[in-house]
């Protein structure tokens, strides 16, 4: 346990002491939110649009974009540990793989907490706040951290499979595609293009966004939250197992 905590502490310090990792992951999602909410506010005039302001509808997007940045950070950090030989030295210790993975990903959870807190404050300051009320705050934070963990595990898996940071950067467009092909810009029932609506319906990112969005604009929507947690938790679990297996393979090679 002590080794895990030490790893977690190292991971948190390493993540937070890199402003180049923290600042863009908070600033760019907010900049895009600001541009989108102003540029698309007239979309609220569409019949059936679920919010009075586009800002309130779009505030969920930064939570996912922040998590995508977390994936890149997690992957880059793990790749760096492989490239510098740190992981080789860790393999000599009796640490369990899952514990090692969780320790490595604690920094991403800390970053996710900073992101979620900032986005929530912005949502309260410039929007109509949380429709779910104060009780929605811990649920929102928990869902946001689960999403960060899910994407962080994917980033770590890619790093462990490939062993280099450049490959991690290379998968960023795929994450980007997953976000873009979701119900990010309009509710699914208002998406006119059939194939796009179908892709968005099968895309788990849609449900992550809708889970967070429900807390801002609908209040307590059990179905949206259950789907949001199920998708984020499911992706996190699958990616964690995959990363753990990739770690075993890498340690065997070591």
């Amino acid at each position: 346990m002590r080794q895990v905590l030490l790893l977690a502490q190292r991971s948190v310090i390493r993540t937070l002491r890199q402003p180049a990792m923290v600042f863009p992951s908070v600033f760019f999602p907010l900049l895009l939110l600001s541009i989108n909410s102003s540029g698309l506010n007239s979309a609220t005039r569409l019949p059936g649009f679920p919010a009075d302001s586009y800002f309130q509808f779009a505030i969920a997007i930064p939570f996912i974009q922040g998590a995508l940045f977390s994936a890149m950070s997690a992957g880059t950090n793990v790749a760096n540990d492989i490239e510098t030989g740190f992981l080789n030295r860790l393999s000599l210790t009796p640490l369990r793989r899952v514990a090692l993975m969780l320790g490595q990903l604690t920094g991403i959870l800390a970053l996710g907490l900073i992101q979620a807190g900032t986005f929530l404050l912005v949502g309260i300051a410039f929007g109509d706040g949380l429709a779910a009320g104060p009780g929605g705050v811990p649920v929102l934070i928990l869902l946001s951290l689960t999403i960060s963990l899910a994407f962080g595990c994917i980033g770590a898996w890619v790093a462990l499979r490939t062993g280099n940071g450049e490959a991690v950067q290379g998968v960023f467009p795929l994450f980007f595609a997953a976000l873009f092909l979701s119900s990010m810009s309009l509710p699914r029932n208002l998406i006119e293009t059939d194939w796009y609506r179908t892709v968005a319906t099968y895309n788990p990112v849609s449900y992550m966004i809708e889970g967070i969005r429900s807390l801002f604009i609908a209040g307590w929507d059990g179905e949206a939250l259950a789907l949001g947690f199920a998708c984020a938790g499911g992706v996190a679990a699958i990616a964690m197992v995959a990363a753990s297996m990739a770690l075993r393979t890498r340690m065997v090679r070591t």
């Binding site: 600001s34 541009i35 909410s37 102003s38 540029g39 698309l40 506010n41 007239s42 979309a43 005039r45 569409l46 450049e166 290379g170 467009p173 980007f176 595609a177 873009f180 092909l181 990010m184 810009s185 309009l186 208002l190 998406i191 006119e192 293009t193 194939w195 796009y196 968005a200």
Partner: protein
Amino acid sequence: MSRGSFTSVARALAWRNIHNWFTNPTLIVPSLLFPLFFFTAFAGGLSRVDSIPGFDYEANYTTWIYGFVLLQAATFGGVFTGFSVARDFESGFARRLMLGATNRGGIVAGYWLSALVRAAATITVVTVVALIAGLQVTGGGIDLIGLYVLAFLLNTVAMLFGTGVAMRLRTMQAGPLIQTPAFLLLFLAPVWLPYDLLTGWVHAAAAVNPLTLVLDTERGFLVGDPTKVLPAFLVVLLLIAVTVVWSRGGLRSAERAA
């Protein structure tokens, strides 16, 4: 300096950059994918917004978004060339090039040619996808010439700006300084909705953004009803004049450091 040295430097450098771009997946894939992502996400995910009262564009929403993505592809063809300049300096290649080139103006010309080819390749892919997705072009031959000439002029602006930054800083860390202004200029224009339907600070920013004029003209070319053609070309030519001076300054800075 002879004309031959200028063209031989430009041609050799352009060939190297174009070859690198086409053969290196880490360079070509993001260049092609990002405009396609934007096109797919906006044209597919937001197509319903063309039914908002006041949205009176003559063609469908795919065509509306194509006008933006065309400019984006052209601009980022120039921006990514700026990255190549920075990478060449970081790897030491550009310093050797500065020593070997008899006419250093040919270096900028070489990067410009490669930016044009990159933009042409990206625009071709985006256009094919857009045509499959239902792009409705009703503009005539002259309109299409105007459409693409304006886009390539904007590509030149972005390339000259990026080259100026990259030659001054000579590191890949210049990337955000090249990319962010281009990104902001593009997205502070009427991307999704007409100018009159914008609200808030983006409405105010779009009013003074030169790309608003260019984008409106591009969308006009697509439907054969271009507006403010002369002002749009004048704005882009003015931007080229400014960025030529900027990139010359960058080249001088790099020469001093070489």
